[in-house]
Symmetry: C2
Subunit: 331 residues, 2 copies
Amino acid sequence: MSNIREVAKRAGVSIATVSRAFTNPDKVSQSSLKKVMDAVDEVGYRPNMMARNFRSTKSYAVVVLVPDFANLFFSKVIRAIQETGQKHGYNILLGETRDSKEREADYLKLVETRQADGVIQLSPHIPEQELLPHPHISAVAACGACDTPYASVRMDHIAASFSIVNYLISMGHRKIGCISGLSDNPHSRDRLKGYKQALAKAGIDFDDSLLYEGNFTMQSGHDAGVYFAQLSQRPTAVFSMNDLMAVGAIKSFKEHNIRVPQDISITGFDDLDFATYTDPALTTIRQPAEEMGKKAMLLLLQILDGKPPTQQEFILKHEFVLRDSVVQFSG
Amino acid sequence: MSNIREVAKRAGVSIATVSRAFTNPDKVSQSSLKKVMDAVDEVGYRPNMMARNFRSTKSYAVVVLVPDFANLFFSKVIRAIQETGQKHGYNILLGETRDSKEREADYLKLVETRQADGVIQLSPHIPEQELLPHPHISAVAACGACDTPYASVRMDHIAASFSIVNYLISMGHRKIGCISGLSDNPHSRDRLKGYKQALAKAGIDFDDSLLYEGNFTMQSGHDAGVYFAQLSQRPTAVFSMNDLMAVGAIKSFKEHNIRVPQDISITGFDDLDFATYTDPALTTIRQPAEEMGKKAMLLLLQILDGKPPTQQEFILKHEFVLRDSVVQFSG
DNA sequence: TTGTAGGCGTTATCAA
DNA sequence: TTGATAACGCCTACAA
């Protein structure tokens, strides 16, 4: 592992010239440049980025705070973040929090200790327990539900769930079950609002017994399915707050010999890749995962560049995806 | 953003003492320690890890080279890597390669330029195009197929696929289709070997028309399903080289009104979370994802610590997972 | 166009 | 137990 000094000696020039040859080649004469590059090849020199970054007080790394790495939705977002970051010379440090504020604080420390320049927060914002914003931490929130006290990129979950529940109603359903995420999750709250608004608009009373609280996992969706299947007054359609739970619910409906969608319709949320491959294929809401990831990274880059964002909040459009899991109700 | 000098001044001690207070508290008197800590609180000091790492010539970061983020199998592995790394003070830099050697080289550069201390390679090893081992790069391979010229953690894919195809045969199947990954993928090769060995052992001739080359995606599994469905001599069972393709195939069988498993049995590989929730639940091979991730990280840590591993290769055990996608054939 | 030299924040060596 | 000081590798005024 050679350093710049060795290259300089070998090339018969000064350290400064070698440095310039890398960062500002046009400020170096052709002959010097050649001598330097030859020497570089000879000794196999690579600039020490740790030194360079240290010197420039920038780490060129960004931490992505993600609740659950094994959630395909986040995988997509992270991919977009990485691609965008890479184009601008930034690396991505993984920070899986698994909903632990302690772990989150640990990752935030990476910024405080200068191992990262900023943070992209993928967990939804819960004011009471939020560690961000932090005076010394550049941060952007993405994929959240409500607005945050710092820049964010998200979609309108109320409107999205409103539209899909509305669709269910337009298909003749009036007894519509709801599988929610944990009730204190902001996404759950917003999507529940949309559900209730759609019911209200159609003059349907909200029925507490049709609301089942899951936690966004397939398992909890399955549990919800069992619950609905055993209800004496079974719903004719179910609005699931994500695709994963919908899959679990479908599974348990089938186990109870309830046909989907003939006996019960169901909708999802997220439009994960496998939503096309479930049986039946899921009618769902597509979240613009890639767009959110990309936009979030660009926003953070801008902030790191010292330019405050023009808007605090960027709301991206969702998409209604029609497939086969909903059928006209004719009771 | 204050530095150690400021803390020293404030505490009325030397910078050396401040440094020791952090790295070697017991070498500092109680009174000095208190003075330092008070000063630290006052000015909100955080050690600059960039400087510290620079000084120690270690970045405490490790790059994980992963072909595809949106593959839940890798998500699990990476999670285990991160958890293990974190316990030892290491951070994880994400490196999604998407099978591009160019991108891979970019990430490897992170190690050459000292932004990372080592690499965990999750792509299977293909000797002709392999960038590793590299003289200056500490690396460990995980989840690969064949042996690598550097330390690796993997399972025996030949044995695993042998066992599951053997199970199919024991259930009376003799016409067994195979959905493989790309034929030049080492995993595909090994699993194909296991498939062929099981057939051979049962005295069944290998039939080329029963082999469909996919690429490990659901879409390609679906294509395979279409292919098998339209075959005049349809197989009675299908060995899919991963769960994802099995899901795709099941979908297309159903579209062709072929019942699974009554009309055709199928098996998967990986045992992803959703393998329980497919219809029918998948009989499959569980890869020890977490164990491989953890072991790989520990191995790399050991190498970074200057201790060469006791073995070059660690073969972890797979597990046969019996569920509902295979049924006795009684033709 | 080039070289000299100072400094980034930390740790480690060596004396005191 | 402490402090002064020399690195670590690089960049960048500044001067030549």
